[in-house]
């Protein structure tokens, strides 16, 4: 009879990692943020550049999707005009929960340099924003840093409950 006994506390212990469901779910969510292609103006070009060869957004698990149903992150890249405001709300509502929004660039943050009759002075008047990204236009590195920050934010959130309603400005 083999006198084999495993000491579960020695040599690294159990071949099992103990964690919470929340952490596992959030780990998955934060590392596969699929973004909606929402290039409205100049920032959209930098958003494309961050998806293209040099900056390679796929490294962070961020893949651009054309459909709001397949996306959980909306990167509002560019000036939101009053004529377009209706559609951004509609697309935001079409996205499945959980969903996050990055407001990219000065125009999306506050209207930026376009303080005119036609532009919405900040996208946060229409949809709730999780992260504001300054710059006109922000560099691709900035956008990638923003996504990393958003990942940290997602990992802090609780995964099991529905998202709390977010505040509009």
């Amino acid at each position: 009879m083999a006198q084999h006994q495993v000491n579960y506390l020695k040599d690294g212990g159990l071949p099992v990692a103990l964690t919470t469901i929340d952490k596992v779910v959030n780990w998955g969510r934060s590392n596969s943020l699929w973004a909606l292609t929402y290039g409205l103006a100049c920032c959209g070009i930098e958003m494309m550049a961050s998806g293209a060869s040099r900056y390679d957004f796929d490294r962070f698990g961020t893949i651009f999707r054309a459909s709001p149903r397949q996306a959980e992150l909306m990167i509002v890249a560019g000036t939101l005009t009053k004529k377009h405001a209706e559609f951004i709300r509609r697309l935001y509502d079409q996205m499945t929960e959980p969903k996050w929004v990055i407001s990219m660039g000065s125009c999306a943050n506050t209207g930026g340099m376009f303080n005119t009759y036609a532009t919405v002075q900040g996208v946060d008047r229409v949809i709730p924003v999780d992260l504001y990204l300054p710059g006109c236009a922000p560099r691709p590195e900035t956008l990638q840093y923003a996504v990393l920050l958003l990942q940290q934010k997602i990992r802090r959130e609780s995964a099991s409950r529905a998202q709390k309603p977010k505040r509009l400005m």
Binding site: Y38, A52, T81, F87, L91, A137
Partner: protein, 408 residues
């Protein structure tokens, strides 16, 4: 506004008369291959388009109105955001218009640097066009390749002015900075590699069966149609009209450099694609010549016109009167003489015109922007009927429209 409880959609100013199985498809305003916020209302008979109605204004930011409340130098960064793929060409058009209005003569070194920026912007714009159009048609590799080269150009521009996308690198009366060290060597290195890169794209696309099927004999614009819709740039040259403002009304140093204007008489998507490739080669040729010109220029960068342009920094710091003038120019702005001016330049997209009406104030009384993409969007009304849905993407691609410019 939409009425949610009505089955019939209600759109402002547009009536739909439906009597058959016609389907109305909304393409946009947020479509990944609409190149911005274009909304096309397509009337479809099966897959064929019977009527197309481009709806614009989703990126209207009121730039012309903004210009009326800004001093001339203040408006310069706003022009960046028009055709944001080639911002320096917008800066240049505006600077040239104001210079014509005042009657300024720009120093030669500034001209050489401007020419470099303009042609680099043309290359950037054409590379971007190639990347996005190829992506829309499904050639992902070309997208990645062309963006790689575009990044090298953006690095060069960043070396010069510090910005990647919105350069504001040209001032009224000259350029603010001299070229940094190694700029010319780096540019030469880039230009030496460029022909190989262009050949790579052509190897990938020219003999590609899918690319040819999507491009050849699709979106044919006849000569008359191109003229009557006010096309310019490659849209016009692909339809067999040799018209390039760089040749017709040479501005800057374009009369001193040797280059060809590629023309095609096919008028289809494929012809436009070939012209973009040929123009990239021509741009590289111009850049080579301009680099050679740089060596024998004197280091002045801004025009000497104390009434309109601030003196060089050294004068401002040492001479009291220059400092006073600088203060007045910064706080109140220059006051060009009464008059109006229209200046057209050949931007990468076509004829980019600035009309300025000055009443002698520090603010323009009226500033009108004539953007090529606006007219190239209008032509979709006539061009799309008869085509199929997949062709729409290819045609929008080759018209090369940018919505910052269409809606302004």
């Amino acid at each position: 506004m939409q009425q949610p409880n009505r089955l019939r959609p209600f759109f402002e100013n547009i009536t739909f008369d439906r009597s058959d199985n016609e389907l109305i498809l909304n393409f946009g305003p947020q479509h990944p291959s609409a190149h911005g916020q274009l909304r096309l209302m397509l009337h479809l008979q099966q897959e064929q388009i019977t009527k197309a109605h481009p709806d614009i204004g989703y990126l209207h930011r009121g730039m012309e109105k903004m210009a009326e409340n800004m001093i001339y130098n203040e408006f310069m960064p706003t022009t960046d955001r028009m055709d944001y793929i080639a911002s320096s060409s917008n800066n240049y058009g505006f600077a040239l218009a104001v210079e014509k209005l005042i009657g300024l003569e720009v120093p030669r070194r500034a001209k050489v640097i401007r020419m470099m920026l303009l042609e680099m912007n043309r290359l950037m714009s054409h590379l971007f066009w190639l990347a996005t159009t190829a992506l829309d048609i499904g050639a992902m590799t070309v997208f990645l390749f062309a963006f790689r080269e575009r990044e090298y150009l953006m690095d060069l521009i960043e070396d010069y002015c510090g910005a990647r996308l919105t350069h504001a690198a040209i001032r009224i009366g000259g350029v603010p900075l001299d070229l940094p060290d190694n700029f010319i060597a780096d540019l030469r290195k880039f230009l030496d590699k460029l022909p190989e890169n262009i050949k790579d794209y052509e190897d990938l696309l020219d003999s590609n069966r899918i690319w040819k099927m999507r491009m050849e004999n699709v979106g044919v614009i006849s000569k008359e149609m191109a003229l009557s819709w006010g096309c310019s740039g490659i849209m016009l040259r692909a339809s067999g009209i040799e018209w390039d403002i760089r040749k017709e009304e040479p501005y800057e140093l374009y009369d001193e450099v040797e280059f060809n204007v590629p023309v095609s008489d096919k008028g289809d998507n494929y012809a436009r694609y070939k012209l973009y490739m040929a123009e990239m080669r021509e741009s590289a040729k111009i850049l080579h010549q301009v680099i050679d010109m740089y060596a024998d220029t004197t280091p002045e960068l801004m025009a000497h016109a104390p009434q309109y342009i601030s003196a060089p920094k050294i004068d401002i710091m040492t001479q009291n009167y220059s400092l006073m003038q600088h203060f007045v120019l910064v706080t109140q702005g220059m006051r060009p003489p009464v008059g109006e001016v229209y200046v057209a330049t050949e931007s990468p997209k076509g004829e980019l015109g600035y009309y300025i009406n000055s009443q002698g104030d520090a603010y323009p009384y009226r500033l009108k922007l004539r953007a090529p993409s606006f007219w190239h969007t209008g032509i979709l009304t006539d061009l799309l009927p008869g085509h199929y849905i997949p062709d729409v993407v290819a045609i929008i691609g080759t018209t090369n429209i940018v919505f910052g410019e269409v809606d302004r």
